[in-house]
């Protein structure tokens, strides 16, 4: 997918400038727009369909999770990428289950972020060992409670397990005898199921509490 326009939602001006530079370098010729709050982002989302969005989670007037949900509601095709300084696991897993396709850590060197953005554009999502571990815990907790939840396949579980032990995608591919692109497909599928399962889980909680 070639992204034509990019929305960066970021409240720290320096970070915004830096991200804009990195993004322009990674995606030459892309149109970049910026929003500094959930409010501004909402206006931009209403005005236009975005191919890609870099969303900071901690915004002055709310959570970036909200922005991701709006983007997905407006156009499910939009590639949402979480950008975070600290990358605390709970927030990243929450963002992934809200529909984000990947995340970047703003604290990392420019070269690393540049590479991650390129990979994301080519459909290779990032997955760190800690995030993999949290996702595994999530699926173990959810369990096969509901027909709507699609369980992970054996291969997907293998991939998650290996990543959680600190293997990178390339190593996982080598160990499992698969192409690296297949691993990326598995990770994307895991993210998608994570989104579905946490929606189903939320619905389940809601119905248990008599909210629906």
């Amino acid at each position: 997918m070639i992204a034509r326009n990019l929305l960066i939602v970021e409240d720290v001006p320096e970070a915004l400038a830096w991200l804009t530079d990195v993004a322009r370098a990674a995606f030459p010729g892309i149109t970049v727009a910026a929003a500094r709050s959930v409010q501004q982002a909402a206006e931009k989302i209403a005005a236009e369909v975005w191919d890609m969005a870099l969303v900071d989670l901690g915004l002055p007037d709310g959570s970036g999770l909200d922005v991701i949900r709006r983007l997905k509601a407006r156009s499910p095709e939009t590639m949402c990428i979480v950008s975070t300084v600290l990358g605390d696991d709970a927030n990243i897993v929450a963002a992934l289950s809200a529909g984000a396709q990947g995340y970047i850590l703003k604290g990392q060197p420019e070269a690393v972020v540049h590479r991650q953005l390129m990979q994301l554009q080519h459909g290779i999502p990032a997955l760190s060992p800690t995030i993999a571990r949290r996702i595994m815990e999530h699926f173990q907790r959810t369990g096969p409670v509901d027909g709507d939840i699609e369980p992970l396949t054996a291969r997907e579980t293998d991939v998650l397990t290996m990543v959680s032990k600190g293997f990178r995608n390339a190593e996982v591919a080598r160990a499992l005898g698969l192409a690296e692109s297949t691993i990326a497909t598995h990770v994307k599928s895991i993210y998608r199921k994570l989104g579905i399962s946490s929606r189903a889980e939320a619905a389940l909680h809601a119905s248990r509490m008599g909210l629906t």
Binding site: D88, K165, G166
Partner: protein, 705 residues
């Protein structure tokens, strides 16, 4: 023996005796006439129970002669003891004997008149037996009183085996003997055989005296023991001698023999009640209980004494039916029940009612069943169903309602949990105390809550007038006075309930303390992590002149910050998790510059380490990787991590150019690595033969300096 067995035993005694009485009453020849003494000394028919009798023989008719015996009003007298002399009694017995013989004939001629009309002769064939339905209400009333006496006596005895309750039970037994025998002869149609009559009369007399003597004995030992054992023995010896003398007709006069002992007993009881009340003047609980019980004994017996005994002694007619007087004796048992319920008479409480209540339900079921079959004449099976329905729909809800009323105050109200936790979470000691006092007032409605003395458990004091509240770690010991606005005493159930409240509060306070302690420790840990890691690294950044190095340190600092935050969210860090992340990150960095990573790690999954050690490990491996990337020109980078004998061994090597000693010493990063390892009580060794080899040993257990 469980309490229920005692109670069932008493019921069994009653059932056997009642069946005996019923058998005796129904095994008599039956004319079908209910007769009473008329004003004119003749016998008047008040009810005709048989349909095959001549039409004129209706209520109001006077019966003058049966067989060859002239009937007199004395023949239908309810209680022969009310006759003035032994001679009169003996004559009465002789006439009863003669009448019995007449009635035993297949046909009896009866002379009767109706108003002024002439005397008519009718021949009636008495039935061989008297049907139970024809027995008058007085019979059943006396049966009921006898049953109440023995069953309530058995109830108290079943729950409390001591001398007072034994005497109480004995009085119930006496009452049953007395009223059941009276029920047979007092409600005879016309006559009973001499021997039966004598035996029943003796039984009645003995029972009445046993009842009185047992009550005297009871009041001699309860609530205060004012009689020595020999006093009680003397009471019984004297009492039984009087009984014997009367039965042998050796008393100076029949009326004195029959009612003298009863009158004496009544006055003794009165004196004893007064004495007990006086002796209990400083024990309000005993006094309150005695008040009810003594008053009801006096009331119950005085009716008997003043309507039957005293008139008989004065040579007057009895002023009430003996059967009705028996009914009034039931007052004693009402008094007893109230005494138990309100003042723990005999030390029994509300709980003791529960023993009987289901049993009572069963009896109601059987009674209704019998009523429906024999009185309403419904078939057996539907009758049982109807009875069951009635018990289910009426008795059980009623019982539950009454049970709820009686036991409401000692139940655990779940809404109190909230109050208790409110107290525990209050910050201020004064507020805690006032809330605690308010909660106690809500639960027990005492007239006052004052500070009390230190005790370890909730305790009833002064016979239930006070309830002592133990101190908790937040509230002082307290003392509540006069439960329920003074309307009742504190019970053991209250004390238990209070103890539960205290335990609950103590638990809530402890939990809150534990939680606060935990939070404080966590804050301390975070502060230390921030100081040791983030602070130190920012300081390094500040004093570093190398711009690229500054950036690297800041990136590391962000990762450390992330650790601290993730850890603050309650997920402990296992060593395996830290190493996985480190491996991923290191490989990512090495791959970018074309260096292969060989990572071997062998640590147990469950090993948990603190943030400081995690940081040290990370710093060392990152620093080593950075050195290899920057200086070595290596193609391979290997890390081996293993846990051996409580130490973590890390071996980092590359195949680069190695480092010169002077360079390594000057390098801030390496100095820092060594200092960190040593700070954990471990060691770091660097050698450069084939590439660089860094060996680190860090103790896992005593990693805190």
């Amino acid at each position: 023996m469980p309490p229920v067995a005692g109670l069932l035993g008493a019921i069994a005694v009653f059932v056997v005796a009642a069946l005996g009485a019923l058998w005796l009453a129904t095994a008599q020849p039956w004319l079908g006439l209910v007769m009473h003494a008329g004003d004119d000394g003749l016998v008047v028919v008040t009810q005709v129970q048989r349909a095959d009798l001549p039409e004129g023989l209706a209520p109001g008719a006077r019966v003058s002669r049966i067989g060859d015996i002239d009937l007199r009003a004395v023949d239908v007298i309810e209680e022969p003891d009310t006759l003035p002399s032994y001679d009169a009694i003996n004559a009465f017995l002789a006439r009863q004997g003669a009448l019995t013989e007449v009635l035993a004939q297949p046909e009896v001629s009866i002379a009767w008149s109706n108003g002024n009309a002439t005397v008519q002769q009718t021949v009636i064939a008495p039935y061989a037996g008297r049907p139970a339905w024809s027995l008058p209400a007085e019979f059943w009333l006396q049966l009921f009183v006898g049953g109440a006496g023995i069953i309530i006596g058995g109830w108290v005895w079943a729950l409390k085996r001591d001398t007072p309750s034994m005497f109480f039970t004995l009085s119930g037994l006496g009452l049953m003997m007395s009223s059941l025998s009276a029920s047979v002869y007092g409600t005879r149609e016309l006559a009973l055989g001499v021997s039966q009559l004598k035996a029943l009369s003796a039984c009645n007399y003995l029972g009445t005296n046993a009842f009185g003597l047992a009550l005297i004995s009871l009041l001699l030992v309860y609530p205060q023991r004012i009689g020595k054992p020999w006093t009680i023995v003397a009471v019984w010896v004297v009492g039984l001698i009087a009984v014997g003398a009367q039965l042998l007709q050796m008393m100076p006069q029949q009326a004195i023999g029959a009612y003298g002992p009863m009158l004496v007993q009544f006055f003794v009881i009165m004196v004893l009640v007064a004495a007990q009340l006086y002796l209990s003047r400083r024990a309000p609980l005993a006094r309150a209980a005695l008040g009810w019980f003594g008053l009801s004994i006096l009331l119950g017996t005085s009716v008997f004494v003043f309507t039957i005994a005293v008139p008989a002694l004065l040579g007057l007619e009895p002023q009430a039916s003996q059967a009705h007087a028996f009914g009034i004796i039931l007052l004693i048992y009402c008094g007893l029940a109230i005494g138990v319920a309100r003042y723990r008479l005999f030390d029994l409480g509300i709980w003791s009612f529960r023993l009987g209540s289901y049993l009572l339900g069963g009896l109601v079921l059987i009674g209704l069943d019998a009523l429906l079959i024999y009185v309403v004449s419904i078939e057996r099976i539907p009758a049982f169903g109807l009875a069951l329905l009635a018990v289910g729909m009426l008795y059980l809800p009623l019982r539950n309602f009454l049970g709820g009323l009686l036991s409401r105050r000692s139940g655990i109200d779940p809404s109190r949990f909230k109050d208790v936790f409110d107290i525990a979470l209050s910050r201020n000691a004064a507020e805690q105390e006032s809330k605690w006092r308010a909660l106690l007032s809500n639960c027990f409605a005492p007239l006052s809550v004052d500070s009390g003395s230190d005790i370890s458990r909730a305790e009833i004091f002064d016979g239930g007038q006070q309830l002592l509240v133990p101190a908790t770690s937040a509230t002082p010991p307290l003392m509540m006075r006069y439960a329920h606005g003074g309307r009742r005493l504190f019970s053991q159930a209250d004390a238990d309930w209070l103890q539960q409240l205290v335990a609950m509060l103590e638990h809530a306070l402890t939990s809150r303390d534990a939680h606060e302690r935990g939070a404080r420790q966590e804050r301390t840990r975070m502060a230390r992590d921030l100081h040791d890691n983030i602070g130190a690294q920012l300081l390094r950044t500040l004093h570093s002149s190398d711009n690229e190095r500054k950036n690297a340190i800041i990136a590391e600092t962000l990762t450390d910050l992330r650790d601290i935050i993730n850890n603050a969210q309650g997920m402990g860090m296992t060593l395996a998790e830290i190493l996985a992340e480190l491996r991923f990150e290191t490989d990512d960095r090495l791959v970018a510059v074309g260096i292969d990573l060989d990572w071997q790690s062998d640590v147990p999954d469950s090993r948990v380490v603190d943030a400081r050690l995690a940081h040290t490990l990370r710093s060392i491996i990152r620093e080593a990787a950075s050195n290899t990337i920057r200086h070595a020109g290596a193609r391979h980078f290997a890390v081996e991590i293993a846990e051996r004998a409580g130490d973590l061994h890390v071996r980092i090597s590359d195949d680069g150019s190695g480092m010169t000693g002077t360079k390594s010493r000057r390098d801030g990063g390496l100095v820092n690595m060594t200092a960190r390892a040593e700070g954990h009580g471990g060691a770091l060794n660097i050698s450069s033969t084939n590439g660089t080899l860094i060996e680190v040993r860090i103790p896992l257990e005593a990693s805190q300096p």
